[in-house]
Symmetry: T
């Protein structure tokens, strides 16, 4: 059975309570429940972790080596500035899909592109909490396909 | 029954024949067949069009008004330069999801962000031809949800 | 009698149906009718063409040589990106006035200046559909003055 | 009867005497006379002021509140640098149309866009001294239309 | 007894009448009265001057030498462009505190930092008309402290 | 009684021991004591926390929801780089005033503006440890005023 | 016998009639005749096509697959902006030599380098209509050499 | 006899009292006296004016037409920002030499080049108050030479 | 006896397991052992610490005051983004040498220079794990020399 | 008989020995022999010089005045940085064609355009050692044509 | 008696023969003769050297230590690119005045400021060959003044 | 026995006599003696060359092929501007270590990174004349290691 680790970065603890027009009404607990439920359907074991600490996320990526088959990572605001997180995505060697609930480019707040996207194998953004579900489907299909070949 | 128009932009006629390591082995006809098949499962009628002409894509976006409930758009290289296509996405008023088979940021070829992404409601990229299927799921769920509320 | 060609670029087919607070309530047909009516008053024959295809606009500029005394051009979003259209304005040798119904700078969406403006002999922008009428007056006066001298 | 204030900024005192190929042969007095004459035709009272002092222009914009229905402003070189003049256009609350006798973009001297244009309701440039007359027509129509609605 | 000169730059004559959500409801006369009242409490003589003329502000800074112990300066839009005002702050040798009623960075209108801030000894911004009062307290404490040491 | 949380970011543990000409002779403990003392005078309960960990500061901003009425935040060097901290200021929904003991622009070390300032309601900088006291007064007045209206 | 397709982009229909000092006196028909004549000498079949439509040029590049051994492409103004044309040069897999009759860098009109040059195998520019002849020689030698090895 | 107007811009009233290591010990009155004395030797009538007002300097440049044969202009900080002053140098048509007492580039405070230098016929900088004397010699020689030819 | 603290930043826990062509085959434990061994030879006590948390590194720099004579710091990806770490290098007052096992510039991944290098007294990079040994020699010589003088 | 000087700049002594996939297998001596042989066919006397010294190349350009009818210049890496060489191309007054064996833009190593190209009358690049032969043909035709007219 | 070395950089050997409208009709020999003649009048021994080699100029600057009291340096195009020449001006420790016969900023060819100016004590430019004479006067006065004090 | 060539670039002849606080008190002769002495200890033959001429350095790099096993290169100011020197480092194929006696980034004089560093295999900077000794150790170890494997 595949195992996928879901990592929520800084400020995602506030999902559902902060600017619901942009980020949607679902709380992080509800999103995690949906992910586990879809995981059960797809025969994927889903583990979830949220932290506001860049270092905790980096540690988690390395601990995923050998324990998880893939990672869904919503880096929050770290997507614009953390070279260290990008290096960890490349260094840990576990396939990572980047997820954003809102379309970060649509907000047009920052001119810099995501540093992470170049290191991730895929990106899903703009579908609210459905972004996570689509990303889980996409990564599970990728991993299943890789396992077969 | 929902109707979704799939628009493939310049150079996507070459899918499956050009750099298969980056873009995957599926041809455009195979991708369209997969989309229609998934559409049938999701109760969505899928119509497909490819053109290397920016103007044809803009015309198609306006013709979709009143005929299609949503659009999947893979703008190809126009994503970096076409303000006119962006204006059409905003002007036609039909919800658009942007799709890329490879991760365009991962290729790191251009420093400029997609002009289109800010106008699209969601983006899926990097999953090969699965990007289209995930985007179809995401848009169908969005449209179904909007129809209910 | 003077002959002036009015060229409407991409997305202007949607005038009157798209963001009326910014672009005004007049449709393209109504604007064309106003232009013909003012043309009659000023003794100017007015011909109108809209296209979402850059190539059609370039072709039209060259076909205007020897047939039209001047051109009113609303390039829409091509104003920011089309070097080819700029070259055609310079190459066709017919005097061109650039028109925008909204003030493109006021929208502050793009930092780059219009590429076309440097090639046009004059610019009118920000007066809604009146921009076309003022531009027609301005160009007619210019052409009449040039014809006299 | 409508009242429109015409403000000429730095160096416009030299019109007619400086680079006539670019700026045209008309002196400022002749332009003011043409504006008053067209104003009489359009039932608009026209008042004119030239100053090389940014502060005088800002003071005049505030004094126009309650006294003038609109302003035609040729900011000259201040268009590229004066945030204070821009703030005054926004702060005084009197509708302003920006005018340039030559096409400032055509001269391609500066890469920065006009700071003022984003605050003005319309722009007319490139028609020589006719730019003022077109702008007067445009603003008068705007004000008359606003008065009716 | 300490003497502090309060200099209000361009457009601040419009305080209380222009965009009260951003700039607050207090007029400049009311702000000056509050400053004099707090000055009396702090044993500081407060003198106030507003001008839309950069040159008048520079002259005032030099005239403050020997007459005032410190200056509160709200440069308005000159903060973004006036190297001459910056030079005057450095050249006059009177300690200057920069004040803004709204948070100029929050408005995010301009990408350039304040030129003045590097020359001022302190900055207070974003507290509406209270910005002036906090700046007066801060500067008075600084001057009193310097007088003692 | 109002409650205000004072957050000191990275390197502020070294206040009083590091470059006293720039940062002043007061240690962090002395500053906290002054803040509590002024808080008592203003009827504000003051709580203080210092951390060199970005994540701890973000956690503290969210824990302040419902516990504190406002926050004074000296982000130290994070002001130039932490999008995540900025998002937390916006996401926690507690009013934040940004404080710097030295004038960060005066040091002219970095060309990038503070990322935080756009999210803070006010900024006080350059008054040494008095910056904190002025900020406390400013925020207390803001909160008291909001409580009344 | 080798077959080479010559593609002339936007505005090249005007060769010989537009700014002859810069672009030379030869018309497009004369250039095509010279190319066919040199082709006969070099045992190369030369086919020529001009279009002002980016999409037509992209279509022609794909249709050249299997039909032509090489392409001479004068992209005109598209050289500065068309990512789609660049992708087609890479995607069609037919060797392309870029040609310009004037030296585009010498004109110094744009600061951006040609997007196409990085995708072309060679570039000839600045020799007037001789640029085409030199490019034909260069490409024919390349193709003959590749055929031998 | 030649007549040369010396214009001193903002903050030059402080010469001799402000940062004497950089700007030298001579006051403006002393510099003017030296200029008049050297003028007498060179048979040049020297007139001097200082103002902190950009508008006064622009007015003076236009008033110099017909009255002065040349101008020495020390624009102070306006050299970096005043497009209007540059336009006046070009518009007044009187030959202008730009003078700086310190080497403005050596101070390396601003990255932008002088806007004025491109409009001036010569520049002398870095020689303290001798800069003015060298510039007077240079301009007098130029004018005498032009008068002869 | 001298005491030197070796700080390894984010992702260096993966040394020896990640891209060995770039970073070399030695694990962090092996590097630490080599450092201690060379330390014994040079009469330097070597203490080692790795963390993926920026805050832990900053804390360690302050704790080194009074305990260590110098620091070897490999900041990993923080070298490009952490102003806070730079401030800690300056604030802690312990001499720091920056170390990189690969040549970070050779990878040419980022255009921005190291923020840290300006604060470090020396830099060694590109020699694989030997970079640490050379840096230890260099710092020990520096400290020994400073102790003698 | 025409005389053409071939100047090879820095590092071209290594041709044939350095990265033959990019620069081709021909050594400089072989290229010079090919050039002389083609020269004989075209009735052009060819003289060749290589130097790694910018100054030697500049001297050679001036010595070519009166001795050579044209110059082929491969500036190597100086193309990106040498303003002095560009000035010499303009100053010596001998027609120069710029040559590169590889396509320098294709290598995409530097973002800056060639400084020289704007001064050269033509450019040939990307054809390996054939670039020289094409350039010799192009320049000879130019010179012969100029001699006739 | 003072000794001043005059260094002419690349391309100045062509003075008098190259673009005389911009650079003046005087040849380098004539300029050197004028400098020696003025030197005799000012009791300064003048030595002159021209080279197109950056290295020769740097060598000359070091050889001037102990032999010359000052240097006049016209760096030609090296002013825009040679960090090494700038370092030599700073390193040789002989006072240097930078000279340009035309106003390099007026040509507006390059956006980058002179690298040298920040290292030179003064700059004279734009007076044709008189630039050298004014610079000689300025430097002689400086040196004489320094010798007295 | 290994042979290493030490190349000192422009201005390094002045070591020990120029800004000793930054560059240290050792002269170039003393540094060369230390290098030879350490070389004897490490069984490495050390040859040293200094030149202010870029071309001499490039020539030396090519002459090192087959004669030297490695190069230590202190490029001085050429590190910021010489593409030709970088190409020579890549083209000569001899391993190069870049050395700087001061920390060039610490001086923060230029914003551009070293062009050379990307071509060098390692960099040592900031240790005064010890930088050379550390670099010699590092390169000798590298070469010995390569010889063994």
């Amino acid at each position: 059975m595949l195992r996928i680790l879901v990592l929520h970065g800084p400020n995602l603890n506030a999902l559902g309570t902060r600017e619901p027009d942009i980020y949607g009404p679902a709380t992080l607990d509800e999103i995690d429940a949906h992910l586990r439920s879809l995981g059960a359907e797809l025969k994927v074991e889903v583990e979830c972790l949220q932290s506001n600490h860049e270092g905790v996320l980096i540690d988690a990526l390395y601990q995923a080596r050998g324990r998880s088959d893939g990672v869904l990572l919503n880096p929050g605001g770290l997507t614009h500035s953390s070279v260290a997180l990008r290096d960890a995505v490349l260094g840990a060697g576990v396939p990572v899909v980047e997820v954003h609930v809102s379309n970060p480019l649509a907000r047009e707040r920052f001119r810099h592109r995501s540093l992470l996207s170049g290191a991730a194998l895929g990106v899903v953004e703009g579908f609210g909490s459905d972004s996570y579900l689509l990303a889980l489907r996409g990564e599970a299909a990728r991993l299943a396909h890789a396992a077969r070949s």
